[in-house]
C-alpha cells in the first residue's frame, strides 16, 4: 500500500473542507461518507510521508497531543504517539490505569489537571463508554476516541476501511463510487459482538461507506437490537455470515468475558466460530481475512489464515500510523 513513489513531497493535500467541520472524532454519528473518504485519502498521503527516508513533516509543529489512557493499550497509544511525532507535534502521555480513580478523583478532575499542560488534542481511552464524549463537553481541546468501553473505536474502523479499500483496489476491484467505496461489498464480523467496540465502529463506518455488515457470533454475545442499524444483519451461523463476504473480520475473544453464564467453554467457541479455510471458500473469491489484534492464535482464526496470503492483519497494524496522522492533522490544522 505504501508505493515506491515515496518521493511525493509534503505538505499533504489539505483534506476536504468538510472534514474540518469536526472538532472531535468520538464516533461517526455526525460524519458523512465524503468526510470519511477525505480522511482516508489524507491517510494515503501520510503513508507516502512515512515511506520517505526522513519520516517527519512539520505539519503539527507547535501543537501538543496528550494521550490519556485510563485502560492499558500499548499498541494503540504508541501508534497515536508515532502519528503525532511524525508530524512534529509534542506528545504528553498520561496513563491513569485506575490509580487516580481509586483516590476518588472524577474524570473531570483528572481532565482539569491535564489541561494545565495545555494540550491541543486529547487521545482518550477508557473502560467506560462515553468518556471521550464527556471530556469533549468539558474541554476546549479536540478529543479523539481511542476506544471507550464497548462503544466505539473509530480510528480502528478507519484503519480497517483504509486497509480494505487499498487491498480491494490492489486486487483489481477499485471502488465503483469514490464517496461510497464499499458499495456492493460485504464485511462479516465474527465473535463477541456484544462486548466489541471494534464491531460497533466497523458496523457504523462500513455501512456509512455503502457496504453491508453481517455480525456473527454465539446468540449470548450477539445483541439482537443491533440489527436495527441500517445495512447490518445478524446471524449466529458462521457459514451463512461468511458466504459471499468480501472480508471476514474475526474479533478478539476476551477470556474474562466468557464466564460460564455466557458460554459453556472456549473449546465450544472455537469449534463453532473459529474462522477456518473451509469458511473462506464460501466467501468471495478475493475475500480477505482481518483481525483487530492482538490475535489469540488458533482461537478466533486458524493460524494458516491469519498468516496466509489473504490475511490483512499485518497491513491493518501498519495502517494505524498514517490513518491516525490523518485524523490528528484534520482535526488540528486550521483550528488555531
Amino acid at each position: 500500500m505504501i508505493g515506491a513513489a515515496a518521493q511525493v513531497p509534503p505538505p499533504p493535500t489539505p483534506p476536504a473542507a468538510a472534514a474540518r467541520r469536526h472538532r472531535h472524532l468520538l464516533d461517526f454519528t455526525d460524519w458523512t461518507a465524503e468526510e470519511v473518504v477525505s480522511l482516508l485519502d489524507t491517510a494515503e498521503v501520510m503513508a507516502q510521508v512515512l515511506a520517505r527516508p526522513v519520516k517527519r513533516v512539520p505539519a503539527l509543529q507547535g501543537y501538543t497531543v496528550a494521550t490519556l489512557f485510563f485502560e492499558d493499550s500499548t499498541r494503540t497509544r504508541l501508534s497515536f504517539e508515532r502519528a503525532a511525532r511524525a508530524q512534529s507535534a509534542d506528545v504528553i502521555s498520561f496513563a491513569a490505569g485506575g490509580s487516580s480513580l481509586r483516590k476518588g478523583e472524577s474524570i473531570r478532575d483528572t481532565l482539569r489537571t491535564i489541561e494545565q499542560l495545555q494540550a491541543d488534542l486529547y487521545v482518550v481511552r477508557h473502560p467506560s463508554a462515553g468518556v471521550p464524549h464527556q471530556l469533549a463537553r468539558w474541554t476546549n481541546g479536540a478529543v479523539v476516541n481511542a476506544g471507550d468501553g464497548r462503544h466505539a473505536h473509530p480510528t480502528q474502523a478507519l484503519l480497517d476501511a483504509y486497509t480494505l479499500r487499498a487491498a480491494l483496489t490492489a486486487a483489481g476491484l477499485p471502488p465503483a463510487e469514490r464517496e461510497r467505496p464499499f458499495t456492493g461489498r460485504r464485511l462479516a464480523v465474527v465473535g463477541d459482538v456484544e462486548h466489541s467496540r471494534v464491531a460497533r465502529s466497523n458496523a457504523e463506518l462500513f455501512t456509512l461507506l455503502g457496504g453491508e455488515v453481517v455480525l456473527c457470533g454465539p446468540a449470548a454475545l450477539l445483541p439482537r437490537e443491533l440489527s436495527r442499524l441500517p445495512g447490518v444483519h445478524l446471524t449466529a451461523d458462521l457459514r451463512e455470515a461468511v458466504t459471499g463476504a468480501d472480508a471476514v473480520m474475526a474479533l478478539r475473544i476476551q477470556h474474562e468475558r466468557l464466564g460460564p453464564k455466557r458460554l459453556p467453554s472456549l473449546a465450544e467457541y472455537v469449534a463453532r466460530y473459529q474462522v477456518r479455510p473451509a469458511h473462506l471458500e464460501l466467501a468471495a473469491p478475493h475475500a480477505f481475512v482481518m483481525h483487530p489484534g492482538p490475535l489469540n492464535r488458533d482461537v478466533e482464526v486458524a493460524s494458516e489464515l491469519a498468516d496466509g496470503e489473504r490475511s490483512l492483519v499485518e497491513r491493518q497494524v501498519a495502517s494505524g500510523v498514517p490513518v491516525r496522522m490523518a485524523v490528528l492533522y484534520s482535526l488540528l490544522v486550521g483550528k488555531k
Partner: protein, 422 residues
C-alpha cells in the same frame, strides 16, 4: 399563631371550593373567610391552594452521606416542591435498621423547617438481604414503612418473612423490584439505544419478573406491598394484572419515568443514570396512559441526590439517581396537565389522596380541624428550571433550562410557612 392564605382558589380531593381566604390557627385549618387579626398573611390571589403533597419515596442521605443531602436541605427542598410529608428511604450510612436511628431522625427532623419526615426503615439488616430487622421496634420508634429500596431483596424466603411481619404490624412494604441477576451490571435500559451506545443494559424483564414475585408474595402473606418506581410497560402490565386478580399491591411511578427516555443517555451524561433506568418512548406512553385510570396509585419522586463530582464520573462508575423534589410538580403539571393529557385533579390525587391511601393515612383536606399542610401553586408563570436555585444540595438536573409552569410559591406545614417563594 394565626395565618391567612388570601384569595386563592381552593381545590382538594373533595372538589373545587372556589375562591376564599383560608385561615389557619395553631397548626390546623381554622376555616374560610373568617376575618380577624392574623400574624401572617400570604397572598394567594390568582393561585391554587391545595393540600401539601405526600411523597412516599425520597432519599435524604442522612445519616452519613450529608455531602449529598441532609435533613435540613432535603426537607427544605421538599417544602419548596410543595410537599408537606416525605417518607425517607433507609439506604443511609449507617442503614436505618435500628430503632435508635429512626428515633434520632424523627427528633432531628422536628427541629427543621421543612416537610414532615416519616422515616422508612430497612427490611434487612444493613440492606444485606440476609437477616430481618426488628420491625416491631422500628415501628414503635416511628418507622411507617419497611423497604430495602436501592437494593432488591433477592432472597424470596426472606422477603416472604418480611411481608408476614409487616402485615402483622400494619407496616407498608415498599419494594425495589428488579431481579438482581437479570439486572446484572446494567447502567441503562437494555435495548436498541444501549446496544448502540455500548453501555451494559438492564432489561425490562428484570423488573417484570420481580414485580410478579413481589406481588405473589403479597398475595400469599396479605402484606400491603407498594411497588416503587414501576418504569416499564411490561412491569406495569404485570402489576395491573396482580391488582386485578386481588393481590394487595399498589403502584408508584416517578416524574423521570413519565418524562424521559433512554435516548437521553445518547450524550453519555450520568445525570440521566437512574435505577430503574429510563425506558423507551413506548414505556413512557404506557405509564402516562395508566395515570388517568386506576393502575397507578401514587407518584413518588425517588429524589436521589448525589454530588456533582459523583455525577461527573464515567457512566459505569457514576451513582444512580436524580434529584427532583423541586421540579416534580411543575414538570408534571406542564408536561401532562397544561399539555391537556391529564386533568389537574388527577395529578393532584396522585400526589395527595393516592399516597395517603397507600399508607392508610387520612385523605388530606382543607377542612377545619385538618392539619394545616397546604401548598400554594402558581399555575400561570412560566420559569426555566435553574438547578443553582435548588434547596437540595444536588443542583444538577436533567431538566435544567426547561421552561415550566406550576411552581409552588408557598408551602405550609403544621400551619407554618416553611416555603415562601421570592
Amino acid at each position: 399563631m394565626r395565618l391567612v392564605l388570601r384569595g386563592g382558589r381552593l381545590l382538594d380531593g373533595a372538589g373545587d371550593r372556589g375562591v376564599h381566604d383560608l385561615y389557619v390557627r395553631d397548626g390546623v385549618i381554622e376555616g374560610l373567610d373568617l376575618g380577624g387579626a392574623v400574624d401572617q398573611e400570604v397572598d394567594a390571589e390568582g393561585r391554587l391552594v391545595t393540600p401539601a403533597f405526600l411523597d412516599l419515596h425520597v432519599h435524604l442521605r442522612d445519616p452519613g452521606q450529608e455531602v449529598k443531602e441532609d435533613l435540613a436541605s432535603g426537607l427544605a427542598a421538599a417544602a419548596a416542591g410543595g410537599y408537606g410529608t416525605v417518607v425517607s428511604m433507609a439506604n443511609t450510612d449507617p442503614v436505618v435498621d435500628d430503632p435508635g436511628i429512626v428515633a434520632d431522625l424523627v427528633a432531628r427532623a422536628a427541629r427543621v423547617a421543612g416537610a414532615r419526615l416519616r422515616p422508612a426503615a430497612a427490611i434487612s439488616k444493613g440492606l444485606r438481604g440476609e437477616e430481618l430487622t426488628d420491625m416491631a421496634a422500628l415501628r414503635a420508634a416511628g418507622a411507617v414503612m419497611v423497604t430495602d429500596d436501592g437494593v432488591p431483596v433477592a432472597d424470596s424466603r426472606l422477603f416472604r418473612s418480611a411481608c408476614e411481619y409487616a402485615a402483622e404490624l400494619g407496616l407498608v412494604v415498599q419494594t425495589h423490584s428488579e431481579e438482581p441477576s437479570l439486572r446484572d451490571g446494567g447502567v441503562m435500559h437494555e435495548g436498541a439505544v444501549s446496544q448502540r451506545l455500548g453501555l451494559p443494559g438492564n432489561p425490562d424483564a428484570a423488573e417484570a419478573v420481580m414485580i410478579f414475585r413481589d406481588g405473589e408474595v403479597a398475595r400469599l402473606t396479605g402484606a400491603r406491598v407498594h411497588l416503587a418506581h414501576v418504569s416499564s410497560r411490561r412491569g406495569l402490565e404485570v402489576a395491573t394484572w396482580l391488582k386485578a386478580s386481588g393481590a394487595p399491591v399498589t403502584v408508584e411511578v416517578t416524574p423521570q419515568h413519565l418524562t424521559l427516555t433512554d435516548e437521553s443517555l445518547a450524550g453519555f451524561d450520568p445525570v440521566y443514570k437512574v435505577a430503574p433506568p429510563l425506558r423507551t418512548a413506548d414505556d413512557v406512553a404506557a405509564l402516562r396512559a395508566a395515570l388517568a385510570g386506576g393502575a397507578v396509585d401514587s407518584i413518588g419522586t425517588d429524589h436521589a441526590p448525589h454530588t456533582l463530582a459523583e455525577k461527573q464520573q464515567d457512566m459505569l462508575s457514576a451513582p444512580f439517581g436524580i434529584a427532583n423534589l423541586e421540579v416534580a410538580f411543575p414538570l408534571l403539571y406542564t408536561r401532562l396537565v397544561a399539555a391537556g393529557e391529564l386533568p389537574l385533579e388527577r395529578l393532584l390525587w396522585l400526589l395527595q389522596d393516592g399516597p395517603a391511601r397507600v399508607m392508610g393515612w387520612p385523605a388530606p383536606r382543607l377542612d377545619p380541624g385538618a392539619p394545616a399542610d397546604v401548598t400554594v401553586l402558581d399555575l400561570e408563570t412560566e420559569r426555566a428550571v435553574e438547578g443553582a436555585r435548588f434547596r437540595s444540595k444536588a443542583k444538577h438536573t436533567p431538566w435544567e433550562g426547561e421552561p415550566l409552569k406550576g411552581w409552588p410559591v408557598a408551602t405550609l406545614v403544621a400551619g407554618r410557612a416553611v416555603h415562601l417563594a421570592g
